[in-house]
């Protein structure tokens, strides 16, 4: 059971969180102007790296805040968490 450090509530059990997949995937500026390919890319295609991954979590059972985390998908280790309005930190 992972401890996910909520930027507000601190470390809590993973069961309290909802996983949101890749972070930093912006909703397209003008979806109607996209090609079908580009739109499909936005809807269905997400990065799936082995190693550090910038992803979104929501602390649904508590403060209900979404935040970003950099977590190593190979080790489960959370390398950093940051709020939605903070820039992606550099983790070596």
């Amino acid at each position: 059971m992972q401890l996910i450090p909520c930027p507000w509530c601190g470390p809590r059990d993973e069961v309290e969180f909802h996983y949101g997949g890749a972070a930093h995937v912006a909703y397209p500026e003008d979806p109607q102007s996209l090609t079908d390919e580009d739109w499909a890319r936005y809807v269905f295609f997400r990065d799936n790296p082995k190693g550090p991954f910038a992803e979104r979590w929501c602390h649904t059972a508590s403060c209900r805040r979404w935040f970003n985390a950099i977590r190593d998908t190979a080790t489960h280790q959370v390398l950093a968490v940051y709020r939605m309005d903070e820039a992606k930190p550099v983790t070596s």
Partner: protein
Amino acid sequence: MTVDHPQRRSPLAHLTAELAATPVGVSLSEVPFLTQLNLRVDPLGRAARAVEEALGATLPTAANTAVAAGDLDVLWLGPDEWLLVAPEGRQESLEKSLRQAIGTEHGAVVDLSAHRTTVELSGALARDLLAKGCSLDLHPAVFTTGSCAQLPLAQAPVLLLARDSEMPRYWLLVRTSFAPYVAAWLLDACVEYAASGP
């Protein structure tokens, strides 16, 4: 306008006797009909200050803490969200003064008095009872008096408030639809403390 509610019914009224019959070391009771208002404002904004003035209480900005001001408890729920808990019957006046304080700034005030009911849990075994279903560290030096947390208790979402972490005495604020489950779960958790079994 306060209305007389002759038949008003609290979610755990039908379990009053069961809750009262807990073993030595645990006390359980429903605290029905408390006033509960959800407040959302920018903690740094002018409205927040006005609200504090109106309430005579600060809005705690430390996560998972509550402040008490007289008979009012202000519980941190999120970085711009609080639950105000007051004795029964205060929802309308409180809502009005909050809205007034917020004025034209962006905020939200929602009456949730009937959304959750409150279970008071106290006694020497209270902490053990909670520890059966709650992953938070309830050590009195960690979850101190005035700490609060939203989290699952077994399979139900609850809002936990340490009214007195030493005694200890807790409030569990439970969404009413989950209240019978939480009550049944707590009563079941008590079984082992009954001197000669259930």
